[in-house]
């Protein structure tokens, strides 16, 4: 907690010092774009923990606050820092942690280099911050294989736009493997390596098809090598006439890993999102954890339904219901979650 207060104090001081020393408009134009996302959560059901020291837990909670600062540094680099304020695991209090803090090149043709603490390009979901999750929670397979924080490591990255007739990007990343679940929190001097290939085709003005593949490996705490492989497929429809009111997205992501235990475990999540009015979405997701499954592991199935209402670009409310079936367990588990998402500050540029 003391470190949390330290960071908050640093941010507040930096902000007030900036205001004091740069009273003129000319000074302020060089301030970074500052924005914040606040996520509130209400969760109930047998699949939700009763322990208030766990997040999420039954009842109402502040799920997360994200503070983001983005600015060009000079003609060569842009810097971005996103700090997450969330309940610390096993504690009632909140902590602040650097979710992503990196610099990236802005003046090189065909390639973007990035260095810092980054969300690694392991498929699609792993790149998302909490406020941008497709559903309120992450897919089962991501929780099981990469942990609740995902694959988020200190490293360097090169993303090359491959000069083909369709959009094709190849990403290579080198990082220090510290992920608790995949690498057992190992922090040696050795580097892990990740490769990601993303391809997207415009099938027409209204339809796109995206296909991606990812692979990662790194030394784990036991001295052996942990590996993970992923594939993703997304089909998107937004008509160029009437697309303000209707859209359909169907996305599927598969992930498997040889983690610290050395056993092969994988899972699949597939979801459909349909926009049926300007501000309304309905979504469904089906998941299976355990393709393939380790001997000691009981496969799980999960079905989720979500209704989302977004009054504007800057606010949203979502209601989600889940059923989880664990093989060998007599009864299913259920959860109902309600979430609000608020964005303030600089207007974000949305990704596709």
């Amino acid at each position: 907690m003391s470190s949390s207060f330290f960071w908050v104090a640093v941010l507040c001081l930096a902000s007030s010092a900036g205001a004091a020393e740069q009273p003129s408009v000319r000074g302020k134009v060089f301030n970074p774009d500052i924005s914040a996302n606040f996520l509130g959560l209400g969760a109930w059901g047998s699949a939700v923990s009763d322990d208030p020291l766990q997040a999420p837990h039954r009842g109402l909670s502040l799920q997360e606050a994200e503070l983001q600062f983005v600015s060009d540094v000079d003609p060569y680099f842009r810097a971005s820092a996103l700090f997450s304020v969330a309940q610390e695991s096993g504690a009632a209090g909140f902590g602040i942690s650097p979710e992503e803090v990196y610099l990236e090149t802005i003046s090189l043709p065909f390639v973007t280099f990035r260095a810092g603490k980054i969300k690694l390009a392991m498929g699609k979901h792993n790149l998302l911050h909490t406020h941008a999750f497709t559903f309120i929670d992450e897919p089962l397979v991501h929780q099981a294989l990469l942990g609740s924080e995902g694959l988020n490591e200190v490293g360097v990255s090169a993303a090359v736009l491959v000069p083909l007739n369709w959009y094709s990007e190849f990403v290579v990343q080198g990082f220090s493997p510290t992920n608790d679940v995949l690498f057992g929190a190992h922090a040696s001097g050795e580097l892990g390596v990740l490769g990601h290939w993303k391809n997207l085709w415009d099938l027409s003005d209204d339809f796109t098809l995206e296909l991606g593949a990812s692979g990662v490996e790194g030394k784990n705490a036991l001295g052996s090598t942990s590996t993970a492989f992923g594939g993703d497929l997304t089909f998107k429809w937004r008509p160029s006439v009437g697309g303000k009111y209707h859209a359909l997205i169907w996305s599927t992501e598969y992930l498997q890993s040889h983690g610290v235990t050395g056993e092969l475990l994988g899972g699949l999540a597939s979801w459909v999102q349909y926009q049926f009015a300007e501000r309304w979405w309905v979504q469904g997701r089906g998941e299976r954890l355990g393709i393939p499954h380790a001997e000691a592991f009981q496969p799980q199935y999960k079905a989720s339904a979500l209704l989302g209402f977004f009054p504007s670009e800057f606010s949203g409310m979502r209601l989600q219901a889940d059923q989880i079936v664990t093989q060998g367990k007599a009864n299913s588990d259920y959860a109902v979650q309600a979430q609000y998402i608020i964005s303030i500050g600089a207007h974000p540029a949305h990704s596709y």
Binding site: S107, P109, A159, L161, T208, E278, R279, A349, Y352
Partner: protein, 302 residues
């Protein structure tokens, strides 16, 4: 390792080939209106393509990776600015990995700030007022006089990038500007003859057009920018239509026009028309002259 080397050689030879293959300037615009202006100025000396379709709301275009690919190959990116494209263009530029079209470079041109924007915000502003544009209303291309000024600005930038054709670009832009000046005078005379002096619109898309031709925009169907019409607000608008005897509602054709049915039930005398507000927004709208001519005809009731 050998495979990686071969792939690397192929990629960089392709980059080299692509960078040398384009003799003509390759221009990318954010909207079809800007594409039309660039094509008017550049003729066959360049190739030009638009990211948004004329049927799409330019505030809410998705940053498709295929747009990044187009931006990667562009020599010039022409946008409106004034925050019109703020929700998507930064992602396109970032993903393009093309230093020629980044802000501050010759290949990056924002035309909106160059043509005296209207509705500039003065004083404090909050998002409680909706999706406001603090730098001014960005729908500048529906004013034919500003279109002439934009054409000249585009010509000057094209000339800076392609000096041998600089005189050609400026000449065609000046001719277009003169033509729009002449047409504006004719459109004004036609609109002066009719009784429609007040209209309702769905969004503040037609601000520049209406301001140019002296027509008052009495109310907006959106209660606040970016917020769909609510029942209470529609009742307020109906009150305004009755009180001010507004004869015409113009709905930009990427918005849902069904709200006007309720208004017409309450005020049968009001005329409601759905209008394209961008080049290629409907068939026959191949140029800004077509779009503005169609707006004038619609107001005339033809």
């Amino acid at each position: 390792m050998k495979l990686l080397l071969i792939v690397g050689v192929l990629i960089f030879s392709n980059i080299l080939f692509n960078s040398q293959a384009h003799a003509k300037l390759n221009v990318l615009t954010t909207t079809t209106d800007l594409r039309s202006l660039v094509a008017e100025v550049g003729g066959d000396k360049l190739t030009v393509e638009s990211i948004a379709k004329g049927t799409q709301d330019p505030h809410f275009i998705e940053a498709k990776p295929s747009f990044m690919l187009k931006a990667n190959r562009a020599d010039l990116l022409v946008s409106v600015g004034l925050d019109l494209e703020i929700g998507w263009l930064p992602s396109v530029i970032q993903g393009a990995r093309n230093p020629k079209i980044t802000q501050g470079k010759k290949g990056f041109l924002e035309v909106g700030p160059l043509v005296k924007p209207l509705e500039l915000t003065v004083g404090a502003i909050t998002r409680a007022e909706g999706d406001v544009h603090p730098l001014g209303n960005p729908h500048v291309t529906l004013d034919p006089i500003r279109d002439g000024e934009i054409a000249v600005a585009i010509a000057e930038r094209l000339g800076a990038l392609d000096a041998p054709n600089g005189a050609y670009y400026l000449d065609t832009a000046k001719k277009f500007q003169a033509r729009m000046l002449e047409k504006t005078s004719a459109w004004q005379k036609r609109l002066d003859k009719i009784a429609v002096k007040k209209v309702i619109t769905y969004h503040k898309t037609l601000t520049y057009f209406l301001d140019r031709f002296g027509i008052q925009n009495v109310a907006i169907l959106e209660p606040k920018p970016g917020i769909p019409p609510t029942s209470g607000h529609v009742l307020d608008v109906i009150g305004e239509i009755r009180a001010q005897k507004v004869p015409l509602i113009l709905v930009e054709n990427y918005f849902d026009p069904t709200v006007t049915q309720k208004i017409k039930q309450e005020v049968p005398t009001v005329r409601a028309e759905t209008v394209p507000v961008a080049v290629d927004g409907a068939s026959g709208m191949g140029s800004l002259e077509n779009v503005i001519e169609n707006l004038v005809k619609t107001i005339e009731g033809k």
